[in-house]
């Protein structure tokens, strides 16, 4: 039977991953977007104390298998975090549930290595030269989707018509998903970016700037965070999300030549958290420290409930908050979290930032 590969739905990453696999001539299966059902399956198939991104991912894997995937790419491996072990456990659980799929782990701490390794597995020893073009296509795709999302995160705060930015973003991403190769991408890039750029904004509307730091899975999954980014945008908040795929998957060499934000973040965060404690904790603290240098009015720390690395980061953020006087709101999410508590906290936080803003004027 021919290979049908599935990648879990994780924001624009899955969009790019799918186009990439297709460019390699690999058949793909798109699992349905995260839903109540996905989470229910995930909760059923996971130990109670595991974090919510782990649970949701398991639900995605099961739904991918139901859609007829033969191979599933699993995300895992950020150091000492539980997600590092969960891919192995989840592969086993899938077999226990009688789902015969091959599983492949993409270690988020070794993205370059694993991207290449998995590509080699799926292309069955095709020459490396043939892979260069698709890989460049993947990187360009990610850079385009990052640019689109970054624009939307800022533009939402000033949109004149509620929902206009999200409609434009959806239309743009649909165009991106239809791109087949790097040539098409090059030809249509400006036009696609223009879709979001064309949304009518109100330049006079006073806005706040808030940095979003914390666990990337929770930040990138609106289903888990109760649509945090859109809610903030509509409250008149420009959102600066720390996580961008380009920063992670970019080829190392050009990274050295550019302003290396990752490195600067590490240096800025060293004062508050000296070693890697797994997950995204180190990036959380580093990015928070960078953003606190006047980039934002406040920080929102997003963590899955019970996440050990982010708990450590939270303690480090207390020191940062004290030293730099930057307001920090901690939000933790699990399958029990309802939207009411999130909304109340966000509203109160925004009220608080405005009060400080007016005081500062």
């Amino acid at each position: 039977m021919s290979r049908r590969v599935a990648f879990p739905p994780l924001g624009t990453l899955s969009l790019a991953a799918e186009s990439y696999l297709q460019a390699l001539g690999i058949e793909t299966v798109a699992p349905p977007p995260a839903s109540r059902r996905t989470l229910d399956i995930g909760v059923q198939g996971s130990p109670e104390m595991v974090c919510i991104p782990c649970k949701l991912l398991f639900g995605h894997y099961v739904e991918a298998a139901e859609q007829g995937a033969t191979d599933i790419i699993m995300l895992g491996g950020p150091g000492t975090c539980r997600l590092g072990y969960s891919a192995a456990q989840q592969a086993r659980r899938l077999r226990e549930w009688g789902l015969s799929v091959r599983t492949h782990t993409l270690d988020l701490y070794h993205v370059h290595h694993d991207l290449f390794r998995l590509t080699r597995v799926f292309t069955d020893g095709r020459s490396v030269r043939e892979l260069i073009e698709p890989i460049r296509f993947l990187l360009d795709l990610l850079s385009l989707t990052d640019a689109l999302e970054t624009m939307a995160l800022v533009a939402r705060a000033r949109e004149r018509e509620r929902g206009a930015v999200d409609r434009a973003l959806a239309a743009a991403l649909e165009r991106v998903a239809a791109l087949r190769n790097r040539r098409e991408l090059g030809e249509q890039r400006d036009e696609i970016l223009g879709l979001v750029r064309a949304v009518e904004l109100n330049p006079d509307r006073p806005v706040l700037r808030v940095g979003l730091v914390g666990d990337a899975f929770t930040i990138l999954t609106p289903f888990l965070n109760h649509n945090l980014e859109v809610r903030l945008g509509r409250m008149g908040v420009e959102v600066h999300r720390w996580f961008h795929y380009t920063g992670r998957i970019q080829v190392p060499l050009p990274l050295l030549l550019r302003r290396d934000r990752g490195g600067r973040a590490r240096r800025a965060g060293r004062r508050y958290l000296r070693r890697d404690v797994g997950g995204f904790a180190r990036s959380t603290v580093g990015e928070a420290a960078l953003m606190a240098q006047g980039e934002v009015d406040g920080l929102i720390h997003v963590a899955p409930f019970n996440c050990t690395p982010e708990m450590v980061a939270q303690s480090a953020l207390i020191a940062l908050q004290r030293e730099r006087g930057v307001p920090v709101l901690n939000l933790s999410f699990d399958e029990q979290t309802g939207p009411a508590g999130v909304v109340t906290r966000l509203e109160a936080f925004v009220d608080m930032l405005w009060a400080a803003h007016r005081r500062g004027e």
């Binding site: 109760h226 649509n227 901690n330 933790s332 508590g341 109160a348 936080f349 009220d351 608080m352 400080a356």
Partner: protein, 317 residues
Amino acid sequence: MSEVFLGMDVGSVTTKLAAVDRRGELVASLYRRTGGQPIQAIREGLAQMAERLPAGVRVLGMGATGSGRQLAGAIVGADVVKNEITAHAVAALHFVPEVRTVIDIGGQDSKLILLRDGIVVDFAMNSVCAAGTGSFLEQQAHRLGITVEELGQRALLSEHPVRIAGRCTVFAESDMVHKQQMGHPMDDIIYGLCQALVRNYLNNLALGKTLEPPVVFQGGVAANAGVVRAFREALGTEVIVLPHHEVMGALGAALLARERSDGQPSRFKGFGVVQAEVQANSFECHACPNLCEIAQIRMDGQIVARWGGRCDRWEVV
């Protein structure tokens, strides 16, 4: 003719109303149970409030807060719908302008608000556990066969409080039963419980925060002298309990409506809304696999509010 700004705080356990005049002085207030029937509580509360206000009173503005603020806003017509943190901070500042710490413990949630120079600089709310809130104290009072008011008074008599495990209500209860069986005096167990509640509050909400005086303690639980004593001892500072501590949220909402007022007519629908027929129903949306529960509120047959969806589909009425 008298003129007032109204505030309504619809909480999970109790519903509070407050009316202030143009100068921000409290004119009348009301504290009643929500009783799991928020719509009923809003209508009856408003009717009771009308009786406490002079006949022919003019409502210049209306503010709603509490977990049921959207519902209250939709039914009675609010000019301001604000979160509880802001409402409580505004109310505390109104009475104690130099306040630096606000502790609020209600029926099912607790808040901590830190202020500096009259503005909120940090806050926290309990997230996953209700072990430190009013409902639990009430349960325990009931189990011991005394009223909540008595619970506070008995706690003051304690000389050697017993340490009660306060992390979780279930464990606290078994620990209390155990201590009773060991023969500890009831007063000491009760005060031990108050201390456990305070410990739990400080561990959960005050993590890494400095609670500086003046400290204002508000919300229903502030009526409990035992908990006030436990806070005073734990913080090593005076704890201010204001006369209207239980309606501070509503008061804050009224003050926010007053602040907002710019001579424009209020959206308040009038005390007549208590006669309106209010119906709530819900349905499951099948547009995507999320199957959101959408709730809608009808007044005299007209849909006034709809919520519960993860997307915008049903939001706009």
